[in-house]
Amino acid sequence: MFDIFLLEAVINGVLLGGVLALLALGLNLVFGVIDVVWICYAELVMVGMYTIWWLFVHYGVPLPIAIAAAIALVSLCGVALHQLVIRPVLGTPPINQLLVTGGVLFFMQAAATLAFGVEFRNLGLRMPIVEVSDMFFSFARILAFGTALVGVLVLWLFLTRTYLGTAIRAISQDREIMPLMGVDPRKIYLTTSAIGGGMAGVAASLLALQYDVHPAIGLSFGPITFMICVLGGLGNMAGGFIAAFVFAQFISVGGFYFQIEWGYVLAFAFFIVMMFVKPQGLFSR
């Protein structure tokens, strides 16, 4: 028997997948090229959300300009993160890189608490209600889904159709040889960090429409984003994109059929099983 509520849960899962895919894109790009996991990625998203809130609510800056400023700022944060934190530990064991970006995570949470307090902030916007045949969908999620699709397409075009994008892909495949071919890895790393940061800024602009921002918001998204990247194959952008939708369906449909907590349990169980079956990720070659 056709269940319209189940169909709504499936579609909402697809839309949630868009949000998660958007978050995973930047993290995957950075890992694929620089081979470093930004554990503090969700905190960069938090910086973007605070920027939008601050400009829009406090200074009355029009939302599109506030969003553009946030994307630019988070992009700069990505560059600063690479220059000040990542670069000094690039040649060291991966645990050092994890620890320093983990340190940045706590630093950013503490800095946000000092700067903005512990309150939950939001833009105070009411999104339109989208109703189709007795089913309801979040307008902000539809926006995030569309942006994720456009984002992955633009990123793919950039990586495959431009000289810089080709150089980025080349570096990610062989970081020893490419300097001999005239590619400056430092420039590529900086560019990648800027793009990765920019993607976090884009994600921030869409999350700010759906969630309150507070210093601990990274706790809600950081671990799940990281798991999606690992599930899709760290550094594999297409894999991460698809894994986000797989994960979201477990959460949404699993949560619909069972207790909502079971949706997450099923998603995490699937993740653990896949780590045994395909430790390199679902879409590793």
């Binding site: 909402n12 507070h214 809600s220 949404s252």
Partner: protein, 434 residues
């Protein structure tokens, strides 16, 4: 020469002795209290900070009045960071390194349950201020942990009893025909209140159509909202912190969930300023079950002088935070501290020889404050050892409040009612069932 040297040594020794004695006399007599709250992390804005400020102001006021029986209260504040392991570590640090005389505070029940167990095992003393989970005490026979605060079973009972009382008159149907959904964060606090909800609603013959928990940090509640839409509840009983409450309200609006009444149970629902900031007029008519915010009570119904204490609490809170409304958490933090410092602690010092855990335990068990004897109205009498809820106040009661026009009104119990409850939601309200 030898005599001179002896004399000099003697004089120096005498000066030294006098200096030491003077310094000892100059040491103020003090009682060290370790105060633990969540000053950072999601619980901070969910009410912990408001409670912490209340506790701090109570301690300051007592010290300004000369302390307790000649002892100054030296509060050592610790941040649990909204993380249970940090809360436990901080309690250990305060007890073992700072050597505090007792532990006080604690917002989250998730912290409170293990902390109470541990402190009790060490035979140290803990005075719980805000955490409400019944599981802190239920069947644990704690000897050195006491709580004057309302407990979660009472939260659960209050909302069901309220709905039962108004069903026929306001909703136009028999209580058994009222469809009730219970949703909750799945920690000890949410699960405890939800268990109380379920037991009481079923006892009263009401129709519980859904009971479901979720993690307070869940990034998505859309499938829960879809299920609620499928079950078409008249009344939703919700227990949550933040940001889950704001996420639920936002996703409910976007995903077309409507109801006749939404009843929250403290924590995020106790923060009217923040609800209004986030949802504007949409926050109107939300109910909240909590120990009453003291400023809402008629001072004439309280013991002499308590009205002035409440007024001073409100004045200090507003001066420190610039808030328009003083949340119930401030009263909870203040009231529990005030009860301890003005009733239990003086009795321990006077009648039991000091403030070691044994003296504090005996003094706590002798507490007998009648109704109207605290700023939140309820009295205090702790369940004795051997009772299933030993250490819990047997005289505490919550109230049901409603937010109307950005202000908090009391709607239950009838004896304290300051306004007739608005239920069901007015038809033009965005969340009103159609």
């Amino acid at each position: 020469m030898v005599g001179d040297r002896c004399l000099r040594r003697g004089v120096l020794a005498a000066f030294g002795a006098v200096a030491l004695a003077t310094s000892a006399l100059a040491q103020p007599r003090e009682i060290k209290i370790g105060v633990i709250y969540d000053y950072t992390g999601p619980f901070a804005a969910g009410g912990s900070l408001a409670a912490a400020i209340g506790t701090k102001h109570a301690i300051e006021m007592i010290n300004e009045r000369g302390g307790v029986e000649g002892y100054r209260i030296n509060a050592i504040y610790a941040d649990a960071q909204s993380r249970t392991e940090v809360a436990i570590n901080e309690a250990t640090r305060l007890l073992e390194q700072e050597r505090v005389d007792l532990i006080m505070g604690v917002f989250s029940s998730a912290h409170c349950v293990p902390m109470a167990q541990r402190v009790n095992q060490q035979r140290r003393f803990m005075w719980a201020n805000v955490c409400v989970a019944s599981s802190v005490f239920k069947d644990r026979n704690l000897e050195y942990v006491f709580r004057a605060q309302v407990h979660s079973d009472q939260f659960g009972e209050a909302s069901c009893t309220f709905v039962h009382e108004v069903a026929q008159e306001k909703l136009g149907r028999q209580p058994r025909d009222v469809r009730v959904a219970i949703i909750y964060e799945d920690g000890p606090y949410g699960a405890g209140v939800a268990a109380g909800n379920e037991a009481k609603c079923k006892e009263l013959g009401m129709n519980v159509v859904l009971k479901e928990g979720y993690a307070a940090t869940a990034p998505d509640l859309s499938s829960l909202v879809t299920k609620l839409r499928r079950e078409r509840p008249d009344v939703i009983l919700h227990t949550g912190y933040n940001p889950d409450i704001t996420l639920f309200l936002r996703q409910s609006r976007e995903l077309g969930l409507r109801w006749r009444a939404l009843i929250g149970h403290g924590a995020g629902y106790g923060q009217i300023d923040r609800l209004v900031a986030g949802f504007g007029r949409d926050a109107d008519y939300i109910f909240n079950v909590d120990p009453v915010a003291a400023q809402l009570l008629n001072p004439a119904s309280l013991a002499p002088g308590l009205g002035d204490v409440t007024a001073e609490m409100v004045r200090r809170y507003k001066a420190e935070t610039n808030a328009q409304e003083v949340p119930p958490h401030t009263s909870m933090g203040f009231n529990q501290t005030w009860i301890f410092l003005t009733d239990v602690l003086p009795r321990a010092i006077r009648n039991h020889g000091g403030f070691d855990p044994e003296a504090l335990r005996k003094a706590s068990l002798e507490t007998d404050i009648p109704e109207g004897g605290t700023i939140q109205g309820y009295g205090v009498r702790f369940n004795p050892p051997g009772h299933p809820m030993a250490g819990q106040n047997a005289r505490s009661t919550p109230v049901v409040m409603q937010y109307i026009g950005g202000e908090t009104k009391i709607v239950w119990p009838r004896a304290l009612r300051t306004v007739d409850p608005v239920i069901p939601l007015p038809a033009n309200h965005p969340y009103a069932a159609r």
